[in-house]
Amino acid sequence: MFANARHIDTPMALDPVVLFFILGLAAGLARSDLKIPPAIYDLLSLILLLAIGMKGGIELARQPATGLVHDIAVVIAMGVVLTLLAFAILLLCRLPRIDAAAVAAHYGSVSVATFAVGVAYVTRAGLPYEPHLPLFLVVLEIPGIVVGILLARGGARGLPWRKLLHEILFGRSVLLLLGGLVIGWVMGEQGMAPIAPLFIDLFKGVLALFLLEMGLIAAGHLGGLRGRNLAVIGFALLAPPLFALVGIGTAALLGLSQGGALLLATLAASASYIAAPAALRTAVPEANPALSLTAALGITFPFNILVGLPLYHQMVHALLVAPPPG
């Protein structure tokens, strides 16, 4: 218990990767000429996606997960509930139905970058997590987008489903995560040893550079906040902790460990800014893309990285770990 208490007290803000994000944010806000070339950004995200998948795959090879189908069904249900919840809250905030559905799709789906920082957090805190969490990450990309599109369109008629499914299932993030997972699972830890220096040992260094760029991008979207709907800004700040609670509840239902619960809470609290915008642009072009991106990327992503993770850690500790009073 002492070990846990010590980790709870350690502020995540001291993690160098978070400081890299703040550096990028500051550089962007100060209009510095700092730029990460697009090809480098692509390479960094490619390494991160493969590494997250591989780590899960290696662990799966070591300790095969049981009852995966049931767990995945529960996690999909969580994605649907989160999207409906976001939609209902945004409608209450008087957002037009199409925009409410589009923003809900982003918040029902998940952010791989937030998950990557979450993995760095639980690793640093010494919290083990279930090997199939990366699988949940892949699965959770989908229900939010599908439900959000159905809500925006008021049904499934006339939608380019083939194109959409292709975009979602064969988009680079799902493809690389699943590909990494399978490669890690087939090869196991010993088989992966020759490439571990790049994908496993360099993980945090790559994440640091990636977050530097994310800081620059987030700063760009923060500029778009002016004149935006105040309700959406409030939603982008308040939805993550509320959704993290749903994630913790789901984790309790699945019997996840403390690290697993923290990662599922982080996934629930995160908002997609890659897969969802692309799919929504195809299926619901009349929705305002800047609204969702500003909320997901300009507010929720920085919130989750800087404040959310330590907060969700406290919440997991209080709800799942701490003994009941008395």
């Binding site: 730029k35 990460i36 070339p37 697009p38 950004y41 692509d42 760029e213 620059l216 991008i217 760009g220 778009g224 800014y273 890659i274 915008p277 692309a278 642009r281 195809t282 072009p285 009349e286 800047a290 991106l293």
Partner: protein, 101 residues
Amino acid sequence: MIETSTRSLLTIVTEAGLEAPLAAEFDARGLGYTVTDARGRGTRGRRASQWAHSGNVRFEIVCDPGTAEALAGHLHKQYFAHYAMILWMQEVAVLRADKFV
């Protein structure tokens, strides 16, 4: 004096997310094109090419004037309402006119 022919150059600047669907449309019409990354500022804000999803692309198509006008009309109808897209046409003198139908 080199012999040249007159064709239309249709230039389209739009959001990067439209690259694949537009390329598919041009392929289906048998039109060749050049596509490059682009960045700039317009009525829908700054479009930085540093990040794939916030960037712009610039399509250039050389074809006969009738085809260019028909294509411009189609793009206007299909994309102008909901996507960031601008396009313009100009007359150009080309060599190897048979390549541009």
